[in-house]
């Protein structure tokens, strides 16, 4: 019995090494920590130009052409939808696309393709803005309503 009592003496655990390592890990994780902004994609289908037009039986309807003109500085100067000038208002563009889509049976049924023709020197941010206007809309409830998900770039004029 006496012997057993002796064993209860306080044992010390040397934690120095462990704490060293733990702090090292902690500094590593803090240094490599980076806040990532969520990113999303817009799909664009651009088959090679040499592709033969196999769908000769039911030719898809003509794409809706959206021309984005730029000022010499690369800023947007005007949007043209088909032949119709829309100023610089992307909301007007969205409304136009939406009216075409709803005429052809709504966003799910309509076979609508939008062809973007931006000026070469136009800033890319405006192109994304145009694609955003064309592909959908965020409702008041925060949900995304799709309008048209077929977007492509127009073949470019040769310089």
């Amino acid at each position: 019995m006496r012997r057993a009592k002796k064993e209860y003496g306080r044992r010390e655990l040397n934690m120095t090494a462990m704490i060293d390592i733990i702090f090292l890990l902690l500094t590593f994780f803090i240094m490599t920590f980076k806040i990532v902004v969520p990113e999303g994609d817009f799909s664009i289908k651009m088959p090679p130009k040499s592709a033969p037009s196999s769908a000769s039986l039911d030719t898809p309807p003509e794409p809706l052409r959206v021309v984005l003109s730029s000022s010499p500085g690369g800023n947007l100067s005007s949007i043209t939808f088909g032949e119709k000038p829309l100023g610089r208002n992307f909301n007007l563009l969205r409304r136009e696309i939406l009216s075409v889509v709803s005429k052809r049976g709504g966003p799910k049924k309509a076979d609508v393709e939008v062809e973007l023709a931006p000026d070469d020197r136009l800033k890319y941010a405006y192109v994304i803005e145009a694609i955003t206007a064309v592909t959908g809309q965020v409702g008041a409830d925060g949900q995304v309503y799709k309008i048209c998900d077929k977007v492509k770039f127009a073949p470019r004029r040769k310089k």
Partner: protein
Amino acid sequence: MKFKTKSKSYQMDMTAMIDIVFLLIAFFTVLINFSDAEQNERITLPISELAKPPETPPSEPIILHVLGNGNVIYGTQEYTPEALDKQIAFHMRFLNAMKIPLKRVTVIVRADGDCQAGKVQDVIELCQRHRLENFKLRARQNDQ
């Protein structure tokens, strides 16, 4: 002369500290992401409210970062469009050797918002010449 040295070891109760430190480590371990290849600090993506992160990542992505001057970062290096052409050709030979169908390959274009649209189209046309046809233009979600 004899001094009595007080070499009694003092003990500090470190339990609480270690608890907190482990908590912090767990927090940072969970949040760390190694997808550095997808990010580049030299590029400011354009903002779009519709840019929602995809549910499933593309199976065979080729990520091209288009800088403001029209050069492209592919992998870890910066290439001029002409040099990029060779790199893509090399990549296509690799895909060919691995028997990966081109339909599964997606080109993710991460272009700077101030980059000229023509430069982005140049890059897309370059990929089209290599028979790539799925493209994704990447944008950043509105950050408050």
